[in-house]
C-alpha cells in the first residue's frame, strides 16, 4: 500500500508541498515587480523556516499534541481576544499581533487549533459520559452557555461605550459564578467517581470502565473553562464598553439554553454523530468564529467552519440530525445576514448573485480578476507580462488574487498544472490518513485536507467568479507568513501521523 515502507518521512508529501510552494514563489516574484520589497524572498524565508519546523514536528509524536489539543485551542482563543484588544489595524481589519519584528495573524494558526480540537473531540467518543439526573444534565450541558454567551455579547459590544451589562444582569453572572459552576464541578466529580464504581448506566455507548484522569478536566465539557471564562469576564470588566442588553441578544441566549437542553434528548446509542454530540463542538467553534468575524475576516471564519463541518460529516451523522443541523444552519445564515455581515460584505455577495445590477465599485475586483484570468488564454501572456498586474487593475494581487496573476501569465495550461498539484497533495494526505494508527491521526489528516481543499476551492473560485469574493488566501501562494506557517504546522502534523504510523 505504501511506496516506501521503510522511510519514516513521507518524501512524496514533502515534494508535493515544495513543488506547490516553488511555483507560488515564482508567481510571487512576478507579482512583486510592482512592489518595493521583494515579496518572493520574504515568502521564501518563511517557507524554508516553516518546512524545517514541520519536519521537526514530524519526529515528535502527534499523540503529545493530542493531549494538549484543548489547551492549545483555548490559548489560541485567548490570542484572538488579544487581537481584538491590542491588534494592529490594516485595511480596516484588526488581524495582526506584533511579536518583535514580525506580525503574527492568530486567526491563521486558529485553523490548526480548530482541527486539533475537532479531531480530539471526535476521536474521544469512547469517553463521552452521560449524566444521569435531569438536574445534572442541565448543570453539565448548560454550564458553558453562560460564559460563552456572555463572551459573545461582550465581544459584540466591544466598541459600544453604552453597554451596561453589569448593572442590569450582574446577578446572573454572580449566580453563575458562585452557584452554578461550583455545583457543576461538584456533580462532574461526583459522577466521575460513581462511574469509577462501575455504574454502566451512565455510559450510553458501552465504554466500559472509565478511568478518570487529569485529561478529562481539559475536555470541552469540563466546567473549568466556564469558570475560567467567567472569572476572566469579571476581571476584564469595564463599565465603559458595556451597553444595554438588546432583546434579540437575550433571545439568543435563551435559544442556546433551550437548544442545549432539548438536544440532550436526541442522545442515541449508535456510532454516528448525533445532534447531541454537536453541542460541544458547536460551542467550541462559536468562540473563534465570533472572534474572527469581529475582526472582521469573513473568509477565514467561513473556511474554519467549512473545515470543521467537513470533519463532522466525515465522522458521519444521523440523517435526522443532519437535516435538522442543515435547516438550523440555513435559518441562522439568513438571520445573520444583517447581524454578522458588514454592508460591503453584503454588497459583494449581492454583486455575485446579480452581477448585472452591480455598479463598478463592488464587482470591480471580481470582474478585473476574471478579465485577467480570461485574457491568459491557453498558454498565457508569459512570465512578468500580466498587464492587469502591472497597471494595478488587480486588487490584492499578492494575497487573495495571486492566482489570477498566474492564470493571466501562464494560461489554462498553468492553471491545470496547479490544480493537478493540489489534487495530488490532497490525494497524498488522504493516503496518509488511511495508514494512520488511530482516529486522531485520521482526523488531523482529514481536517488538514478539508482546510486545504476549501481554501483552494474558495480562493480560485473567487478569482474566476464562481464563488463570491470573501477574502481568503491561496495556501502557500498568497503572500503572508502566518498563513504559510499555519499550513506547514499542519503538514508537520500529517508528516508526524505518517512517521508514527506504526506497522499494521
Amino acid at each position: 500500500m505504501r511506496a516506501n515502507e521503510n522511510s519514516r518521512f513521507n518524501w512524496v508529501l514533502i515534494f508535493a508541498v515544495l513543488a506547490i510552494s516553488g511555483l507560488g514563489l515564482v508567481n510571487l516574484s512576478s507579482v512583486g515587480r510592482t512592489s518595493s520589497t521583494n515579496l518572493a524572498i520574504v515568502q521564501g524565508v518563511w517557507v524554508g523556516g516553516s518546512l524545517l519546523l514541520a519536519m521537526g514536528i514530524a519526529i515528535l509524536d502527534y499523540q503529545l499534541v493530542e493531549r494538549l489539543a484543548y489547551p492549545i485551542f483555548f490559548a489560541l482563543v485567548l490570542s484572538l481576544v488579544g487581537v481584538l484588544a491590542i491588534g494592529k489595524v490594516v485595511n480596516n481589519s484588526r488581524r495582526w499581533i506584533g511579536v518583535g519584528p514580525i506580525n503574527i495573524q492568530p486567526s491563521e494558526l486558529m485553523k490548526i487549533g480548530v482541527i486539533l480540537a475537532m479531531a480530539k473531540y471526535f476521536s474521544d467518543d469512547a469517553q463521552v459520559s452521560r449524566p444521569r439526573s435531569m438536574l445534572s444534565k442541565l448543570l453539565i450541558y448548560l454550564h458553558p452557555v453562560y460564559p460563552i454567551a456572555a463572551l459573545v455579547i461582550l465581544i459584540w459590544n466591544w466598541n459600544n461605550p453604552k453597554y451596561d451589562f453589569v448593572v442590569q444582569y450582574h446577578w446572573i453572572l454572580v449566580g453563575a459564578l458562585f452557584v452554578w459552576e461550583p455545583l457543576a464541578i461538584w456533580h462532574f466529580l461526583h459522577e466521575s467517581s460513581s462511574r469509577r464504581a462501575g455504574d454502566l448506566e451512565y455510559s450510553t455507548r458501552q465504554r466500559g470502565d472509565k478511568t478518570y484522569t487529569l485529561d478529562d478536566l481539559f475536555k470541552p465539557e469540563s466546567p473549568l473553562y466556564g469558570l475560567g471564562a467567567l472569572g476572566g469576564l469579571i476581571l476584564f470588566w469595564d463599565k465603559d464598553f458595556m451597553t444595554p442588553l438588546g432583546a434579540w441578544r437575550f433571545l439568543l441566549i435563551a435559544a442556546f439554553i433551550i437548544w442545549t437542553a432539548f438536544s440532550s434528548m436526541f442522545a442515541v446509542r449508535n456510532g454516528r454523530t448525533s445532534f447531541h454530540d454537536l453541542v460541544s463542538p458547536v460551542l467550541l467553534l462559536s468562540m473563534p468564529a465570533v472572534l474572527i468575524i469581529k475582526q472582521p475576516d469573513l473568509g477565514t471564519a467561513l473556511v474554519l467552519l467549512a473545515a470543521a463541518a467537513s470533519m463532522i460529516l466525515f465522522m458521519r451523522m444521523k440523517l435526522a440530525s443532519l437535516i435538522i443541523a442543515v435547516a438550523i444552519l440555513l435559518v441562522a445564515s439568513v438571520a445573520s445576514w444583517n447581524i454578522v455581515l458588514k454592508p460591503y460584505q453584503q454588497n459583494r455577495i449581492k454583486a455575485f448573485w446579480a452581477p448585472s445590477k452591480d455598479t463598478k465599485d463592488t464587482g470591480y475586483h471580481s470582474r478585473q480578476s476574471i478579465i485577467a484570468v480570461g485574457s491568459g488564454g491557453l498558454f498565457g501572456k508569459g512570465y512578468g507580462k500580466s498587464t492587469q498586474t502591472r497597471f494595478r487593475f488587480l486588487p490584492e494581487q499578492h494575497t487573495d488574487f495571486v492566482f489570477s496573476v498566474w492564470a493571466e501569465e501562464q494560461g489554462f495550461v498553468g492553471c491545470l498544472v496547479v490544480l493537478a498539484l493540489f489534487s495530488f497533495l490532497l490525494l497524498q494526505i488522504v493516503n496518509i490518513a488511511s495508514g494512520a494508527k488511530d482516529r486522531f491521526g485520521v482526523l488531523i489528516c482529514i481536517g488538514m485536507a478539508s482546510l486545504l481543499f476549501w481554501h483552494v476551492f474558495i480562493n480560485i473560485g473567487m478569482v474566476i467568479g464562481v464563488v463570491p469574493v470573501v477574502g481568503l488566501t491561496l495556501p502557500l501562494w498568497s503572500y503572508g507568513g502566518s498563513s504559510v506557517l499555519a499550513f506547514f504546522l499542519g503538514f508537520g502534523l500529517i508528516l508526524s501521523v505518517y512517521y508514527h504510523r506504526g506497522i499494521k
Binding site: R207, I370, F391, V430
Partner: protein, 647 residues
Amino acid sequence: MSLFSTKSDLPNYKLRYAVFLGIVLLAFLVLLVRLRKIQLVQGNQYREMSIDNFVSERRVVPFRGMIYDRNGSLLVDNQPSFDLYLTPAFCTKESFEKTMTRLTEYLGLNEEEVDKTTRLYSNRKGLDRFLPILVHREMSWDELAIVEQNKDKLEGVEVQPAVKRVYPMGKLAAHLLGYLGEISPSELAARKGGDYRQGDYIGKAGVEKAFEKSLHGKSGLKKVVVDAKGQKMPEAIAKKILGDNGVIVPVKPGANLILSIDARLQKLAEERFPGQEGAVVAVEPKTGFILAMVSKPAFDPNLISGNVDVRVWSALVHDVDKPLTNRATQQHYPPGSTFKPFTGLAALSTEGFTSETKELCTGGLRFGDHYFRCWRSGGHGRLSIHRAVVQSCDVFFYKAGLAAGIDRIAQVARSFGFGSKSGIRSCIEVPGIIPDKAWYKAHTKWGFLPGFTLSDSIGQGDVNVTPLQLAMAYAALSNGGILYRPQVVLREETPDGKVIKQYEPIVRGHVDASDENLKVLVEALTGVVNEAGGTAYYRRPRNVTFKAAGKTGTAQVVKQFADRGRNLPYDFRDHALFAGWAPADDPEIAVAVINEHGRHGSSGAAPLVMEMITYYLVQLRAEKTDDNEDGSLDEDPTKKKSLGGVN
C-alpha cells in the same frame, strides 16, 4: 484504554476517503470547466477587455500658434503650466473635505472653485466618478511643488500639464492682439462637431479671435497606456506595449502669425501718448498694413486670458473709461478740421471752384439766423484753398462746403472709406457716420436743414469717423488715391518657419477725386507742417531729410461754450486730432492720432505723430541698415528680445 480499540473502526473509513476525494475532484472539475470557458472559449474577448482596460484614447490638444511682430519680436507666447484635477472615484467622502481644505491652503482656491468642485463631486455617480474634475488652472511652480510634496495627503488629486497663453509685453497692442477665454456654450454650439470641447480656450477678441482658425490648429488622437487609477504610464512603457507610438490622428499645431505691426513703434506710441484716452493708428500708405494701433486706456491680456479672476474682469467691464473698447475702431469721433481736405476735394470737383478760388474770412459767417465762427475770431482775410488748409480756416470751408453741397461732400468722403467699415479682420468696427440729405431725412425730426452743411464741412455736426478710417483716408490721400483695406497679419507660418500663407495688400477702391485736385491737397497738407503759419509748423520734424504732411484737428465736444479756457471741465474739453504722413511726396507711414480732451490738435496730437514718423523713418531705418551695431540703440524703447521663441 477503553474496551473499543480506537483503531478497530479505521478500516471502515475506506468509503469515506473515496467520497472525500470524489467531492474534491468534482469541485476541482467545476473550477476547470469554468477556467476552460473563460480562458479558452471567451479568451479573446477577455484579452480585448484587458487591453481596453489600459489603453485609453486621449485627445492631444494642439499647440496654439504664437504671434510675432514684423521684426520677429514675440508678442504672444505659450508657457507650460499645470492644471489640478480631482477624480472623485479615488477620493473618499471622508477625505474629500480634508483634501479641499488642504488645496485651499496651498493654492488659495477661491469660493467659486471650491463650490464648483464640491457640487461636481457630489453629483457624479457611477462611472462618471472616474472623470477628473478640473479644480484649479495654471498653478505656479511653487504651488506645483507644494502639491507634489503633499501628494499622499491629497487623495485623488492629479496634476496635468497644460499650456498658458502669455503676452510678454503686457498691455502692448492689447486691443489688437485680443485675449483668450474659456469657450462659451454658444460658441461651442456654433462649432459643433468641430475641434473644441468644454473647457477649451478660444480667442475672444482681436487677432486671437479673428485668426482663431489658423492659431488653433487641429487636435490629434493618441492611444495612451493608463493604470487602474487612470495615471498615464511613461512613454517608454507605452511604446513597448502598444508596439507603435500610438498616434491615431496626428496633431496639427496652430500656425504662427507674423503681424505687420512694429512692436517698437507701437511701444513708442503707447508710451508717448500725450493724453489719457484716445487712439493712434499707423499704417503703411502703399499697402494698408497696420504698423501700430493703440487704444488708450488699455488692459493687460495676461490678467483676463485663461484663468480669469472674476473681480479683475468685472472691474474692467465696469470701468467708466472702457479699457476693453478698442477706440481705434469701435469709437465714433468727430474728425474736426482733419475732415477739411475731403470737403475741399468735394468743392474742387464742382464747377467753378478751383484751387485759385479765394474766399474772405472775417472770423465768422452768418448763415440764416445763425453765426458760424472761425476758430480765429479775427479772421484770415482772403485766401485760397492752399492757405485755408494750411491755416485751417473754418470760414473758407463753410463756403467750400456750401459750394459742393452736402451730398457731394458725403460722396467724396465715402470714397475715402468714411461712413463704412474698413474691413479689418481683427477688430470690431463701427461704420462711422457721413451724413447726406437722405441721412438727415432718416435720422432727424426736421430732415435736412442747409445749416447742417456748414458744421459738417469742418468735421463737426454729425460727421463721425473712427481713427482707423482717418488713417486709411489720409493714406489714400498720400498715395495717389488708392484706398486699401487695413490688414494686420503679414503671413502665417508653420512652427518651423515655413510660410503657409502670405497676405497681399487688398485695394478697397479708388477715391473720387482727380489727380490734380489730390495734388493740390497734398501740397496744402505739406504746407500745414512746413509753411510758416501752418497749424503744425512748430511741430515739424527738425534735422531730417524728409517732409511730413498732415492736418491738425480740434473737435468740439460741446457745441458752444462761453469759456473755452483752462478751467473747462475735463469732459467738456475739445478732442485733439492729427492725421498725416511722411515723406510727403513718397509716403511710407501714415498716422492718425486722437487724443480725447487734448484741447488742440497742434499741441495735443501733432507732436506724437511727428515723433512716430521720425522714429519710424530715421531711428528704425538706421537700425535696419546697421543691424550689427546694436549697442548704440539705447534709446530704443522696445529693445526686448523674444521671451521664449519656442518653435
